[in-house]
Structure formats: C-alpha cells, structure tokens
C-alpha cells in the first residue's frame, strides 16, 4: 500500500472491544478528490472504521496516514479530517450561522473576524442556506439541518470528510435529493468523501468506488459496476441484494447444489462455496415447458410491485426462497397462479460460482 501526499492510506488497522474484533487488519487507499462509499451490514465495523480514521478511537494496531502525514496517534482536530454525524450533532443552542462559524471562531488561532464572516457566508451560500443564518437549528427542516452539518465541517477546509450514514435521518424523498446535492458539493470543492451507509442502493449510486466491509475486513474495494457484476465472495453478493445465493459445493465443471448439478459461466476464487444468479437474469416458465439452460422447479409464493419493476418470490423444494426481478420496461407484468408450479431458468454464463 503506497502512502503518498495525495492520498489517505490505512494499513492493517485493527480494533478490538473485549473479545469482539471490530476491525481486523483493514488496509485501504483513498485518492484525493473522490467519492468513496463504505457499505456493510450492521456490525461489520463501518462505524468503528470511521471513528478510527477520525481519531475518536485509537486503533489497537495499524497506521493511518492522511496526505502523507501519519495521524495514527493525533487528536481528531489535528488530522484535517471533517466528520458529519448520523444525527447531525448540531449545537442546539446556536443559530445556523454560529453553528457553521463554530470551528473557525473556536480554533486555537482563529482567523480575523471579517475572514470568518466571509468564509461562513460563502459556505452558507454553497450549501443553499442563505437567508436562514439567524434561525435556530431547531427551526429548520431535516434537509436543512443536514446542510448545516455539512457546512459546519466544510468551512474548516478539511480535505477528507467522513459521513456517517448522512442520509439515514432523512425521509425517502429528501434522501434522493440530498444524494445529488452531496455529489455536487463534493465535486465543487474537490475533496474526498468517505460515505458510510447500510444501503446497497445508496452505496452503488453515490460512490465513484465502493468499499464493502464484512466482519471487520475489506471484502471488496472497486467501482460500483465491478462490485455488482463480480462480487468478491458470497457475502458481498448477499449484501448487494441483487443475487440469489445458493449453497452447495464446487465439483469441477458444475456446482453441486440441493437442486442437482448447476453449470456456471464465471468462477470467483473465494473461501466459501456458493452459486449466485442475479434476480434480473432469471426467466420463469411453466413446469411443463421444454427445458433450456439451467433450471430448478419452484412454487410461486408472492410478488411485490416496485414501480419500475416487480419482484417475484418463489419457493424451491427445500424451502429456500428465490427472487426474480422483472423490469416493467421489458413488457407488462406477468401473472402467476398462487402456489402454482413453475421452473426458474437462466443461462449458465449469467451465473457466478464462488469457491
């Protein structure tokens, strides 16, 4: 892992809480000026990693360098890293303006008053809060509070901003708008954002690159399309919520599963054996239809309408639920008989085998 003055590097960062290993030798290199999302299920160590980078907790082992400077044992505010808290953590007794100005006004050697005023006013304009400066932070909406939290950090000019589930406290509508907004603000400032989220959709949509964390280790670090098309292991495939993951064992040219030997197209080296097929690469045919490609018999359970697509849920002979996604752009919504017998079919080249 190369540490340079233009990147943020973590090498072998380890953190234990008693018997629990929250971070298990995490190594990562983030470039300057990129948007990285950090995806993982709860308990995967996302927040611990963020807190270790920010300096709220010292790692038990490993090294953190920020733009060529070893900050492993430095206090949080000396690292040049900004932190946006999940619940925003605004100062409830201060106005929007005073919240944004806090970092500048209370620095060890604060800049002159007119410079503070200029920088705060500029930042308030950048995040679109002009006119609300004198409001209390209890008198503004959730989205506006999110902007205050961002502006408060950005005004101190950090080059790396850590965002801990920044959209988690917003309602769905606002979340979509703020996604755009966050990307825009970052692009205008040319800083690095590390955005922690538990939502795979958010991670894939926001990040120039995505880190997938699994049980305190980096499972995969790649561009969103790479992660989606070739997940590094069965767990990553599961988090993505786009794959049916079947268990079994790899035997040469086929994968031995509970539904017989399944042929596959691509193999990914991994410790755990599994067979993955994307929800949207499966065709549903009558049980009696002529077989083609790979297929397993199933019973229809239920469907869920998502607007642009429909999710169908089928039960295999052993009770395992398989999901099929039908994009409505591909044609009208097919109807299936309740508890009807069908066969799920796909091309072997669409399937990934781990093992």
């Amino acid at each position: 892992m190369a540490e340079t003055i233009s990147n943020i590097s973590l090498s072998g960062v380890t953190k234990r809480y008693g018997d629990v290993t929250a971070l298990d030798g995490v190594s990562l290199v983030l470039e300057g000026n990129e948007y990285v999302s950090l995806l993982g299920p709860s308990g995967s160590g996302k927040t611990s990693l963020l807190r270790a980078i920010a300096g709220f907790e010292a790692p038990d082992a490993g090294k953190v360098t920020v733009f060529g400077r070893d900050v492993t044992h430095l206090a949080p505010h000396k690292r040049g890293i900004g932190f946006v808290f999940q619940n925003f953590a605004l100062f409830p007794h201060l106005s929007v303006y005073d919240n944004v100005a806090f970092g500048l006004a209370n620095a060890d050697s604060p800049p002159p008053a007119d410079e503070i005023r200029r920088r705060v006013t500029d930042m308030v304009r950048l995040v679109g809060l002009t006119g609300l400066e004198e409001r209390g932070v209890g008198q503004i909406s959730g989205g506006q509070r999110q902007r205050v939290a961002l502006a408060r950090t950005l005004v101190t000019e950090p080059r790396l901003i850590l965002l801990d589930e920044p959209l988690g406290a917003l309602d769905a509508n606002l979340r979509m708008r703020m996604r755009d907004e966050l990307r825009h603000i970052r692009e205008r400032l040319g800083v690095t954002f590390l955005h922690v989220t538990g939502s795979e959709t958010e991670a894939l949509a926001m990040g120039d690159r995505v880190v997938v964390l699994d049980r305190g280790r980096v499972a995969q670090f790649a561009a969103p399309d790479v992660i989606l098309n070739s997940p590094a292991n069965p767990n990553v495939a599961r988090f993505l919520n786009r794959y049916n993951v079947l268990s079994g064992a790899l035997r040469g040219e086929a994968f031995a599963s509970a539904y017989g030997d399944l042929p596959y197209g691509k193999r990914v080296e991994s410790g755990d054996a599994a067979y993955g097929i994307r929800y949207d690469r499966i065709a549903v045919v009558e049980e009696t239809a002529p077989a083609s490609g790979v297929g397993i018999p199933v019973t229809f359970v239920t469907s869920e309408y998502l607007g642009s697509a429909v999710m169908y849920f089928f039960e295999a002979a052993d009770g395992h639920i398989l999901e099929v996604e039908h994009h409505l752009g591909k044609g009208r919504m097919p109807e299936f008989r309740p508890r009807g017998k069908y066969r799920l079919q796909w091309k072997p080249e669409d399937a990934i085998v781990f093992g």
Binding site: P76, F85, Q86, L90, F91, F102, N106, T153, T156
Partner: protein, 291 residues
C-alpha cells in the same frame, strides 16, 4: 364528525379539570389564603398581650427603624449569596462528573443515589452532627492538631457564620447537583465530539457548549437552594450559637412571643424577596423551552 371530536375533547378537558381540582383546592386553602392573611395581619395593631384587627403600619415602621431587623435582612441576603455560590462551586464539578464524564448510566444513577443518602437521616441530625465535627474539641480540630498543622484549636469553626455556611452548603448542595447532572446527562455526546473535531479546546467546549446547555439545570438548582436558604432558621439556630440571625429566626422568635403582627411583616418581606429571586432566575433562562 366535527361535533363528535369536540365532544370527546370537552370530556377530556373536564376530566383534566377534575385531576387538577384537589391540588387547586389545597393550594387555595393552605397557600393563597394564608399568604393574604399574613399580609392582612401585618397591618394589625399589636399590644403586649393581644392583637386587634385595627389597621396600622406600626409593625412595618418598627421593622424598618430597627437596626437589628435591617441587619438581619442583610445577613439573610449575604448568607444566601455565599451559600448559593458555595453550592454552585462545589456542585457543578460533581454534577459534571456524574452527569457527563461517567459513561455508564448505571454508575451515574448509583452516584446520584449516594448523593441522596444523607437524606435518610433527619434534617436536625444532619445539622447537629456538625457540632462534634466543628467544635473546639471536635474532629476537625483534633485531626489538624494531630497532624501538627495548628498548635491551638480554631475556635471560629463552630458557632460562627462560617459554621452556618458549612452546614447549609452540605445540606443543600445536592439540590444543585441533581438538576445540573440531569441536564448534563441529556447532552448528546456526539455534540461534544463534533466540537472537538472542529478544533475547539476543552475549555472552549466547556464554555461554549457544555455550560450553556446545562444552564437550565443551574437555574433550577439555584431556585431550589435559594428558596430553602432564604427560609432557613434551624441551621442558624443549631450552629451559630445565636450569633447569626436570619429573617427566619426573627419570625420564630416573634411567633414564640406571640408578636404576630411583626412576624407577619417579616414573613411578607421574605416572601417578596423570594418572589424577586425566582423571577430574576426565570428571566435568565426560558425553562418552558428547555425542559
């Protein structure tokens, strides 16, 4: 539909009035009426052995022309300010520790209960227990002499204004600790981390974030302590050797010699002082907004 809702609401309101009724009746009978009575009696005519409802300002004149009474008015205010300051200086750090620095909720509850343990014995015992502590041959003097820090016992420890201040501070400090610790425990820890991340030093964070956010607790604590100290008479009686006379002590003495009119005058003055003090504190912080 609208009518139904209105009916339901009216019923709820009527129930609410019934809930407040016993309290309201109690307060009217035993607080509002007696206060008006005290004001009335303060204008009655007092002779040596009897009191008559003939209106006069003689008792008021007597109070304001007596150096002793005016003196005790100032003593009351002075002692109140000293005890208030002492409970704040002693109580705030304690509350800071219990409410903010102790991370475990269980431990902080245990610590608060420990603060309240002295209340398991009676007020008088707690006050009188200071005598063997502070006396000429008391525990503190013996310890200091044994340690070789002093050659002769410090007599000013007991039966002085100092002993009254010590006694009152010990008894009332917990009323300062409680509300402050409560407000501190409600501060979101992330706010403090955010301030730290933005580069503010410990003292900056304390003065700009922690102190302002705990101010409502300080005000509530100050109101508790003020109301109790201003009405005090027992601690002074037990620990001052009759050298310190508060307005409360004068009321006790006057009532003891059946001088109801003068006692009422002092009562009215004390009530006015307390009213002003509480109103003053409430102007500092909008408690409605904070709690």
């Amino acid at each position: 539909m609208a009518e139904q809702i209105e009916t339901a609401e009216t019923t709820r309101n009527r129930t609410a009035y019934w809930l407040i009724a016993p309290g309201a009746v109690w307060m009217a009978l035993f607080l509002a009426v007696p206060i008006l009575m005290i004001v009335y009696v303060s204008f009655w005519t007092q002779t040596t052995f009897k009191i008559e409802p003939i209106l006069t300002i003689a008792s008021w004149k007597q109070f304001f022309s007596s150096e002793t009474y005016i003196g005790s008015l100032f003593t009351t205010v002075r002692l109140w300010l000293i005890v208030l300051a002492a409970t704040f200086v002693l109580g705030y750090p304690t509350a800071l520790f219990v409410g903010l620095f102790v991370k475990s909720k269980t431990l902080s509850t245990v610590l608060l209960v420990i603060c309240v343990i002295p209340f398991w014995t009676s007020f008088l015992i707690r006050v009188l227990a200071w005598r063997p502590m502070l006396g000429k041959e008391g525990a503190i003097n013996i310890l200091l002499q044994k340690a070789g820090l002093i050659s002769a016992p410090i007599e000013a420890l007991l039966f002085s204004e100092l002993s009254v201040v010590i006694g009152m501070t010990q008894i009332y400090v917990v009323f300062m600790v409680g509300p402050i610790a409560f407000m501190l425990s409600r501060i979101d820890r992330n706010i403090i981390e955010a301030a730290r991340d933005l580069g503010a030093s410990f003292w900056r964070i304390f003065f700009k974030i922690i102190l302002p956010l705990s101010l409502p607790g300080v005000i509530v604590g100050a109101i508790f302590v003020s109301v109790m100290v201003l009405g005090e008479f027992a601690t002074t009686a037990a620990l001052s050797g009759r050298k310190v006379n508060l307005l409360g002590n004068i009321i006790v003495t006057q009532v003891g010699s059946l001088k109801w009119a003068l006692a009422s005058v002092v009562g009215v003055i004390l009530t006015i002082i307390m009213g002003l003090v509480i109103a003053g504190f409430l102007r500092v912080v909008d408690l409605k907004k904070e709690l």
